[in-house]
């Protein structure tokens, strides 16, 4: 997600986001905020409180590294860690250059302050598009190296010895004379040292942690239910609880309500209409929920989206038969298809998908006259600040955000219009008093809440010539644009074509000489959003099952056929070969088993997956084994790379097997984990992840593991049964 920002014109971004001054483009092509006053977001960056229970204070050695008097190192994370391990990744980069010990390193989230903590790939503070490590790789190592140099200078001054004679190792600063010190005793002095503009970074052979699986900084807290970890755990004195009864159809408008029954709920305070629904205020979460259930609300559906998903699909099917705007074209697909000896034609249907992060959304807000404080797992802090400031008629720097750990996101917390933060601002205004308010979403609110991965239909025709070589590819996609109508529209949508709807097709590195991609983007009143891997979540499925069928038509091996098409993409070819080799590709399988492969590049990383399935007596599929190979550049933390690929596979598999959001007359049919049944432990295959060693710059890993699993399993099902699961989820065709 948000990988489009590289191509954005900074002036447009500034205007759209309402920045006070335009952004300047730097040499490296990244967006950079101009000057300290640019955003008006300068937040005091003084001494910060140490972890709960300690009265210690920390000294900021630089904006990313703080050290306390005990010698603990706090890495200030500009990125939200919602499970993907970025906090540990940033800690690894700093600890390596700083020569800190593993035990002394902790992570805190940065305040919302784009001038200091922007994502270098976005030009604003935010996390997404699997960019955390890619954009921080140099920056955080420099921060660690600068902090180390500051400690060395401080020690040299204190001990009256040359800097060159000082050693730093595993958290200890020492001199050959036998003098030594931990970081804590040198921290204050270190913070005042004048440093050169550029500090030297280690060479890869000097790395002590990079490439070696630094243990997760959050594993202990997350294995012990530590307090005040997630937004859901946040509590502050004098806090009011709120839940919102949102309209049952998008675009419905509040008419009236009857709250008589709610009044007998102990702890209920009041219910008032607000811009996003009826806000129910109470003393505690349960009272808010119970009171909300007891209120009946009348809505006006005159202008709402009242269609069913079946109707939408039949409209999409009609469009899929009509030629549409060209999204991408190279060569001449028509002519090449005309010359093809054999062709494959297929139509695919993909449902709406909810993200359903484990922690439902929550946020606490406290609005005062000239200051708003927010506590939540904020993923796009700058946008949250901008939008909330606008609602209170404040400047963005007057909106303070304390970012807390998030119990998952998969895209849901990165919202282009600050949706749930904006709602919190409205709730606070509806309440009217300067009092902290915590808003909790139930699972039903989450599943029915929209911002789904859009529904899509793909209709594809591709051919192979008499020599068994690919000849012509015509591909038509029908599906809602995620970006049209949002403040990002002008960056991503060009001439009505939303790049995120077809990424992963026309830009394939398969050597396909003649290819046309058409895109219909019907308008639907259901809000949509990026969902782990965005467009790749459906395009990889189509590309990789089509290529597989073409190989079959040509009578060729699926791996060999792909390798021939990958002559110009050695990295993609390498992961494919590695996954094939490690999976025992081509070996004999037990009866009723099938093996399938898929390889896809997304977020600049390459992932190949081989799935082995076992068909059950009732026609359903069990995925028994997945062998993955990945190249994401320098593997900063191999164990986390494996974890993200394992999780990405599980996340994709659950969706492919049985997840869909459907609408009946505009109302969402699903509500909780009974009707939106997630992957469970018994569904989880054995997974092996192999990492290609690399010296290339690190690229994404939170998302790229997801796209190949669907097509790998689909190809395995075809190998086992001869049938094509082209309608998702698999439950639709009886495979799950």
């Amino acid at each position: 997600m948000l990988n489009f920002i590289d191509n954005i014109d900074p002036q447009t971004l500034a205007r759209e986001l309402g920045l006070e001054q335009p952004l300047a483009q730097t040499r490296r092509g990244f967006l950079k905020l101009s000057g300290g006053a640019g955003l008006g977001l300068v937040v005091g960056f003084g001494v910060t409180a140490a972890p709960a229970g300690s009265a210690e204070t920390t000294v900021p050695v630089n904006r990313f590294v703080e050290i306390d008097s005990e010698g603990l190192v706090f890495v200030i994370s500009k990125h939200l860690d919602k499970g993907q391990g970025s906090a540990t990744g940033l800690a690894t980069l700093v600890a390596d250059e700083l020569d800190a010990s593993i035990e002394q390193v902790h992570v805190r989230f940065a305040p919302a302050d784009a001038a200091r903590y922007k994502n270098l790939a976005f030009g604003m503070q935010g996390t997404g598009g699997s960019t955390a490590m890619a954009n921080s790789f140099i920056q955080y190592r420099q921060a660690g190296a600068a902090a180390r140099l500051a400690l060395v200078k401080a020690a040299a001054a204190k001990w009256q010895v040359p800097e060159s004679e000082i050693q730093v190792s595993a958290g200890q600063v020492s001199h050959s004379s036998g003098k030594s010190s931990d970081f804590g005793a040198l921290a204050s002095m270190a913070a005042t040292q004048t440093l050169p503009e550029k500090v030297e970074l280690k060479t890869p052979d000097q790395w002590v942690y990079i490439g070696k699986s630094f243990p997760r900084v959050d594993a202990k807290n997350k294995s012990s239910g530590a307090p005040r970890t997630y937004g859901m755990d946040f509590k502050i004195d004098n806090m009011v609880h709120a839940m919102v009864a949102r309209p049952p159809r998008w675009g419905a408008v509040y008419k009236s309500m009857d709250m008589t029954a709610a009044k007998s709920v102990k702890g209920f305070i009041d219910a008032r209409p607000g811009p996003t629904g009826v806000v129910v205020f109470a003393d505690n979460t349960w009272a808010a929920k119970k009171a909300r259930d007891a209120i009946t609300i009348e809505w006006d559906f005159a202008a709402s989206e009242n269609r069913s998903s079946d109707q939408l699909f039949s409209q999409y099917r009609t469009l899929a038969e009509q030629s549409g705007p060209i999204a991408h074209r190279h060569g001449d697909a028509e002519t090449a298809l005309g010359k093809a000896a054999k062709t494959v034609e297929a139509t695919y249907e993909f449902p709406f998908l909810a993200h359903a992060p484990m922690e439902p959304l929550d946020i606490t807000i406290h609005a005062e006259a000239d200051r708003v404080q927010i506590w939540t797992g904020s993923q796009l802090q700058t946008i949250d600040q901008m939008v909330v400031a606008g609602i209170f008629d404040l400047k963005p720097h007057q909106v303070h955000i304390e970012t807390l750990w998030a119990g998952g996101s998969f895209g849901r917390r990165a919202i282009y219009n600050a949706e749930y933060s904006a709602e919190a601002a409205h709730v606070s205004r509806v309440w009217g008093k300067s009092q902290p308010i915590k808003i909790v979403w139930t699972r039903e609110d989450d599943i029915k809440g929209g911002y789904y991965r859009p529904m899509y239909i793909h209709k594809v025709k591709a051919g192979v010539d008499a020599d068994g070589r690919l000849s012509g590819w015509h591909h038509r996609i029908v599906g809602q644009s995620i970006f049209t109508g949002t403040s990002f529209e002008s960056f991503v949508v060009k001439d009505g074509i939303d790049h995120s709807s077809y990424e992963g097709t026309g830009d394939t590195t398969y050597d396909i000489a003649d290819m046309t991609i058409e895109l219909h983007s019907p308008k639907v009143g259901v809000p949509t959003l990026w969902w782990r891997s965005v467009g790749h979540s459906h395009t990889a499925y189509v590309m990789e099952t089509m290529v597989d069928q073409l190989a079959q038509k040509a009578g060729r091996d699926a791996v060999e056929f792909r390798l021939e098409l990958l002559k110009n993409d050695p990295r993609k070819a390498a992961v494919l070969k590695l996954a094939a080799e490690k999976s025992g590709w081509g070996g004999v399988l037990p009866k009723g088993h099938g093996r399938g492969v898929a390889v896809h590049k997304s977020f600049n990383s390459y992932v190949a997956e081989v799935a082995e399935v076992q068909m059950q007596a009732d026609g359903t599929v069990k995925v028994v084994q997945v062998t993955a190979a990945v190249d994401c550049g320098v593997p900063i933390n191999p164990d986390n790379i494996r974890a993200q690929v394992e999780g990405g596979i599980g996340y994709g598999l659950g969706a492919i097997l049985r997840n869909e959001i459907t609408l009946t007359d505009g109302q969402v049919d699903q509500g909780n984990f009974d009707t939106y049944e997630p992957l469970r432990i018994g569904d989880m295959p054995e997974i092996e992840v192999h990492i290609v060693p690399s010296n290339e710059a690190p690229t994404g890993i939170g998302e790229p593991g997801t796209p190949p699993i669907g097509p790998a399993v689909a190809n395995a099902i075809r190998a086992a049964t001869g049938k094509n699961p082209n309608r998702l989820p698999f439950t639709k065709q009886g495979f799950a």
């Binding site: 919602k82 499970g83 993907q84 391990g85 997760r216 959050d218 594993a219 202990k220 997350k222 294995s223 012990s224 239910g225 530590a226 307090p227 005040r228 970890t229 997630y230 859901m232 755990d233 509590k235 609880h241 505690n284 979460t285 349960w286 929920k289 359903a356 992060p357 484990m358 922690e359 439902p360 750990w405 119990g407 998952g408 998969f410 909790v440 139930t442 699972r443 164990d639 986390n640 974890a643 993200q644 394992e646 999780g647 596979i649 599980g650 996340y651 598999l653 659950g654 909780n672 984990f673 009974d674 997630p678 992957l679 469970r680 432990i681 018994g682 569904d683 989880m684 295959p685 997974i687």
Partner: protein, 152 residues
């Protein structure tokens, strides 16, 4: 007023009897280790031990459990729970971590009953605990590892 013991401490809870134990723990006692995931007994994030048995605290009404003994992730400390928590860290199980309190409470109950669980025992005992980050492969390994640690 409901009297019961929570993490070894006697508590008198003054809430409506139909209040789920989950919200008593989280909102009234500030024991936030136990998580809210679905509120309908479908995800296991809210798992606690009630008189030694793993239960879904979102489905356990406070009025029904007077006199019981409740243990939550915030305070659990048995041989099995220590082994589980050690294995969880050794194998780096948590990602977002939000499900893990519940996973650990279910896994602890399993190992307390069945010190050497089979893969099927694990799938059965842990089937009610959802992990949206899909850490399941590591959960399986970590339960086996904890069983080893308990033997040692």
């Amino acid at each position: 007023m409901t009297q019961l013991k929570i993490n070894g401490v006697n508590q008198s809870i003054d809430v409506e009897p139909d209040t789920p134990l989950l919200w008593v723990l989280r909102d009234h006692l500030d024991l936030t280790g136990t998580k809210f995931g679905c509120g309908e007994g479908l995800c296991g994030a809210c798992t606690v031990h009630l008189d030694g048995e793993a239960v879904r605290s979102c489905q356990t009404l406070i009025g029904d459990i007077a006199g019981s003994d409740v243990t939550t992730i915030d305070a659990i400390s048995t041989k099995a729970s220590q082994a589980i928590q050690a294995a969880w860290q050794e194998l780096q199980v948590p990602q977002c971590g939000y499900c893990q309190s519940g996973q650990i409470m279910s896994a602890t109950a399993l190992l307390t009953e069945t010190p050497k669980p089979s893969p099927q025992d694990i799938d059965d005992a842990m089937g009610g605990n959802v992990c949206r980050c899909a850490t399941y492969a590591r959960i399986r390994k970590a339960v086996h590892r904890a069983a080893e640690l308990m033997e040692a």
